[in-house]
């Protein structure tokens, strides 16, 4: 640690832009930046970082990724009992007298050499058909949003478990010393602008030390809480007060001897550095117009999905390990065609841009991209089925998740569903399997990333999870 009074030199350095040093290191307690997992890596890591594009509310798989043209003939017919097969329904449709089949009104086409299907709502993402791995056989256990998202992100439907990002931060530490290991970015959707809320719990460290909780970059106001000095206090003045503070703390350390005091001094220094490094990170004014254009017009609106995608790329460039985006608004119980189009407009181009941008910079090779929601939607219409309108209820039995980037098989479709897109017919992938696979790509054996709490060793995948070998390159 530098002597406290030598910091004026440091200020000059920051002023000339050399300030980004050990932020990540000191975001961790007492400068402990390395992971806490024994024997890492357990396998050769393919991904250095993850960008998790969570589509909150559950996108409709049969309107986007899993075409069921055979349903056109069944339009309006009641869903056969043999297909539903006792499946529990939410209270929103369990009272419905009929379950009329609602074929998608969106046309599908095959793309790329792989011939992967995308609906016309995805004109940009479909251009990357040969990059994506599409898992059509995802399934989960929960049927309501809150428990389902919690399950996806923490491996348990109940509150109190660490999120995946916290596990990764805990297990692997920070790759880059300048920023936290786990950053969260959120955006509202335009498809259903008021839906669905998110909760602090989703990026909470649960029972892990709370330093591993995701740092949520705010979608309005300052990107990090309390980052700016109060009005009337400039950077130089803050520097001086911190020097005074450090001098006094150091002299108290001499008297008391508690090393925690020195850790505290270091944290205040790190806070000062963050005041420079975070604005530098979020300032996109130097991005060339061509890059901004790629992400689309929304990129200029702070807190939009497009702007978060650009920020995700900048975080990836800085080797932040776990970059978690949440885009809200995919819960289309009614008025699906219009709402879904809105959501796709929000996300299609920016997602394509993010992948393309990463690829151009050579970052896609060691970045894992995940795109998907917490469950799927029903083939039958919730509410009245009309020529151009329908809604779909929650459906945990099958849905689609997309993967791309580090260690992922390109242009590959995995798993299949029945004619009604209601049941999986081959290669089911459970949430725990997906999570085990994600950890594997980070070089982690999911059975070995554990934390002892209340006398028991906990892990992200509980006592489940099988690696999905087939989707690996």
């Amino acid at each position: 640690m530098p002597a406290p009074l030598a910091r004026r030199t440091f200020l000059k350095q920051t002023a000339t832009g050399i300030g980004l040093t050990a932020l990540g290191e000191l975001l961790q307690t007492s400068g402990h930046a390395a992971g806490e997992i024994a024997g890492f890596p357990h396998v050769t890591p393919k991904a250095k970082r993850i960008i998790y594009l969570f589509q909150s509310g559950a996108p409709s798989q049969m309107d986007l990724f899993d075409p069921k043209p055979q349903m056109q003939d069944k339009r309006g017919e009641d869903l056969p009992q043999s297909i539903r097969n006792g499946q529990r329904l939410t209270g929103m449709t369990s009272g419905q007298k009929t379950f009329p089949v609602a074929p998608s009104i969106f046309e599908f086409a095959q793309h790329g050499r792989s011939g992967m299907h995308f609906s016309k709502l995805m004109p940009h993402m479909s251009k990357l058909a040969d990059e994506w791995c599409m898992i059509r056989s995802m399934h989960t256990e929960a049927i309501n949003h809150d428990p389902a998202i919690t399950f996806f992100q923490t491996g348990s439907q109940l509150a109190g478990r660490p999120s995946m990002g916290s596990w990764v931060s805990y297990g692997l530490g920070s790759e880059n010393k300048d920023l936290p290991a786990f950053v969260v970015l959120t955006s509202f959707g335009s498809g259903r602008p008021d839906d669905q809320p998110l909760y602090d719990r989703l990026w909470s460290a649960g029972f892990l030390p709370s330093k591993h909780q995701g740092v949520k970059f705010r979608n309005s106001g300052e990107p990090v809480l309390y980052l700016s000095n109060p009005a009337g206090v400039d950077r130089e003045t803050r520097r001086e007060t911190l020097d005074e503070l450090a001098t006094l703390n150091q002299s108290h350390f001499q008297a008391i001897g508690d090393p925690e005091i020195q850790a505290r001094i270091a944290q205040y220094e790190m806070a000062f550095r963050m005041q420079a490094s975070v604005p530098e990170l979020t300032d996109v004014s130097n991005e060339p117009e061509s890059v901004l254009e790629m992400y689309g017009p929304d990129v200029k609106r702070t807190g939009s999905y497009a702007s978060n995608c650009l920020l995700a790329r900048r975080l990836a460039e800085r080797d932040v390990r776990f970059i978690q985006l949440y885009h809200m608004g995919w819960d289309h119980h009614g008025g699906l065609p219009k709402a879904l189009a809105g959501q796709c407009k929000d996300t299609d181009q920016p997602t394509w841009a993010l992948l393309t941008d990463l690829k151009q910079r050579g970052l896609l090779d060691d970045t894992l991209i995940v795109w998907g929601g917490e469950f799927g939607r029903t083939i039958y219409s919730q509410g009245t089925l009309t020529a151009d309108n329908y809604g779909r209820d929650h459906h945990p039995r099958c849905f689609t998740t997309l993967l791309a980037g580090a260690g992922i098989k390109k242009g590959f479709v995995y798993g299949a569903t029945d004619d009604y897109c209601y049941n999986i017919t081959e290669n089911p992938v459970h949430v725990h399997d997906l999570n085990a696979t994600i950890l594997h790509l980070m070089g982690v054996d999911h059975t070995r990333l554990t934390y002892k709490f209340q006398g028991r060793n906990f892990r992200l995948t509980d006592v489940h999870g099988d690696l999905v070998q087939a989707v690996l390159a």
Partner: protein, 1047 residues
Amino acid sequence: MSFCFPLKPLTFAVGLTLAAPLGSRADISFNKDIRPLLSENCFSCHGPDPAKVKAGLRLDSREAALKAAKSGEFAIVPGKPEDSQLLRRIASKDSDEVMPPPKEHKTITKDQAALLTRWISEGAPYEGHWAFLPPSRSKVPALPLGGNPVDAFLQERLKKEGLAPTPRAPKETLARRVYLDLTGLPPTSGQLRAYLEDADPAAYERMVDRVLSSAAYGEHMAIQWLDFARYADSHGFQSDYSRQQWPWRDWTIAAFNKNMPFDQFTIEQIAGDLLPNPSREQLVATGFHRNHRLNGEGGLIAEEWFIENVIDRVETTGSTWLGLTFNCCRCHDHKYDPMTQKEFYQMFAFFNSNEETGILGGGGAGGARSGNTDPILRLPDETQQKRLDALSSEIAAAENALKKESPGTVAAMAEWEPAFKAQLAENTELWIVPETATVSSKAGATIERLADGSFLLSGKGTDKDTLTLEFVLPQGGFSSLRVDSLNDPSLPGNGPARGGKTGPILSALEAEILLPEAKAAKKVPFYRAEASSIGTGFSIKSTVALETGKGWAVETAKAGAPASAVFVAHTPFPSDGPLHLKVHLRQDNGGGAIFGRVKVSFTGQAPALVHLTPDKTLAPIRTILAVDPAKRAAAQQAALRSFFVAHTDNMERRATESLQVARDAHKKFEESLQSVMVMKERAQPKEAFILKRGEYDKPGDAVGRGVPASLPPLAQGAPLNRLGLAQWLVSDQNPLTARVWVNRAWERLFGVGIVKTTENLGVQAEWPAHPELLDWLAVEFMHPTLLPSVNSLPAQRWDMKALQKLLVMSAAYQQSSKVTPALLERDPDNRLLARGPRFRLSGELLRDQALAVSGLLANKVGGPSVRPYMPEGVWDETSRYGDLRGYKPDAGEGLYRRSLYTIWKRTAAPPSMLLFDAPTREICAVKRSRTNTPLQALSLLNEVTYVEAARVLAERMVREGGATPADRIRWAFQQVTCRAPQATEVGVLEKGLNARLNRYKTLHNSAKDLASQGASKPDAAIEAAELAAYTLTANILLNLDEVITRE
């Protein structure tokens, strides 16, 4: 229960894991040395969960461990390590043979293997898990000089370790330590002076007594209890609506302050409702188990969430009182603790008979001030109770009046029937559309009258509007109105509303009538309203004020068909001449929910003839009337009677209406009263089942109520309900409750528990640093002999104040927290307490301290939660659901209350509390981590709370601190640390202050900006530059490690 162990008294081995390496010690203790090894490495396959037992071998009990495994081999042969397969398999190099198997990623070290070998050589003795055996009163070692029994135990150990305690901390440090630890606030300068100036040897004890009798003590104790109780001001889950559970929070503060014994504290919270003649306070106490989250997401399956809530109660009870993790047993038998899945559901059975649905709002208890869900308890104050009593009497009077009037109905019917038959026979057109009408739109819409008499609106007024229509009614009188909402191609989406998004919403309908001879118009009261369709949550009656509600929302799902509503006047207005009628259609909802095309018609016919679909309604009446009165069936007579009472003007109807008015008034007033959610047992217990894999829809065998067999049984004759369970928790025989409580009290005061895992005292618990002390404290807590009196009140059983006083009176507690590198290396976690504890303050305490030392603190106990400063948008960034959005800070007092009163929204909890390791309060949390991060530094440096506190402290420096900068710095330094600064410290601060003074003199605007942070007005008598400079000095002081930390 297959887990069994010899119940012999415990012998605690001396020595600790801290120093000596394992294997080289004189005595081996099963509990301390062997069980943790077996539990960690073997029990997951060879432990208490029979479903997981491999190779037929269990190692969790001696009896089972000595039996032959499936293979016929013996894992443990007492006295014969060479024949014991366990040792051979541990040492094996064969990856198929070696234990634990490589896939478990667990290893047994050589030292540990040696220890196991010695243990088997010595006969492989087992002991029951120490925490499941009742604590015995350990013998207190010889009392050291100037210490109490606590020191006797600690110092005996220190001596063995060759360590000496650290001298007592300075009085200033002690004052700050005691006040922060027991009240959560630093001492005021008066409180500090009182102690510093008291030279009597008993001065310290007198201070402790004063502290324990302050109201702030209860507030401070409550903070941790709120974490345990997962208390919050919102329901959690995605919509996260508000709730009003603060009366329970205030109950806990009061209970701590009146030093309610912990056994009573327990019984009232778990089962206050089941006590004989429970007081209101005892019912409020049961709010403890209503503090869990409540889900209100659309499409929920109620039974699923009913079960989640009950499970939450089981887990919370286990963690809070027993230090056990019941949650493992939800799906399977416990892997470490002797607890089966069946036993879990036996505990579950105690909590599943509450009168509740399991989901938010399930009980329909609405009301303006309540987001609370049944069962609830209303909490009227004295005046409100009087009003409530008066309203009840009015109901009783109205009931009597109705009783008096109803016998007359038979005669009235007989008189009415012939006339009504005649009216029926006439069968004239019911509704008349007046030919002439004047109409005006408040919003200035253009109105066109169409051929069918309806009005079509266009032009201005696309948000809200009130239409006023004036009709001249031809002769025939007036009794009822009809409103039709119609479609029209000129409207967005063909109508019916002008806005196009939702259907029209008629918020209110008012009518005035001018009778032929009258001079002034008269308001028309209505008594009946019907609509052909209406949106959920709306009420047609509310449009004419017959009940409260949002009016008539024309259902959009039926947009294709016109919708109609009829409104029947309380009494008809018969007339031979023309009548003038004025009708106001108020549409206040906004968003274009206004009529696009509307028709108003009227009738003068008898109310009994007026219906939305007269043919349908009257058909059965016609049938009855056709039958000779003497020959009518009882059901027919009853039907006709109800029709008569409801649709004509008669005495019974009037009495019924009066009764309804009285009931509505009572209900409305009652719902305006503060409430709290409480427990209320069903008359018949609800059956409980083992749930396969813990899933709500997979019930297995039915189970009754019961406690785990590895713990003592319920007392003979105890009630088999929550009350019996609560009494069991605090019975003398329960080995856990007292240990858990004293261990956590220890953790609060000493930083680390005697058992470090304060959250878990099960088999996987860490071995206690001072086992005899823990047991002695636990027994002393239940049966005090040496606990001190507090403020001359002798210690009672389960006395929380006396127990804490004992701890803070110990010499160990009073030691300086100064540490040498050698001691730090020897005992980094300070488990031996050769020095005083030193740790960072919680988020609540940091904020409260800043408010207190600046003088901003509003010291008021209890009441509804308040809204201090919060960065804009925290509630809205990730949610547009629920009523907790658009956070607006309070004005005045609410900004400066203690942090435990800050409104807590579970899905977006106060961010500065989360930064300092507070849990989200979604589930019971019995332990907080204590981290040190740059985000905390940013909060303490920049958050408006702290900047404002610094500025107000700066004002006091200038006003009260003396004449010179150095004097003022000294004054403020003592304010925040309790001690006088050293000259060098003053020097550093003075130099900085002077530099800033000079700078801010040239930066007038910056100085003003800084000095005007926060809602309180800066002292105008102090020059802005001076105030800004001092503000930053105060800001530095509030960020000193010494201030953030309790030393």
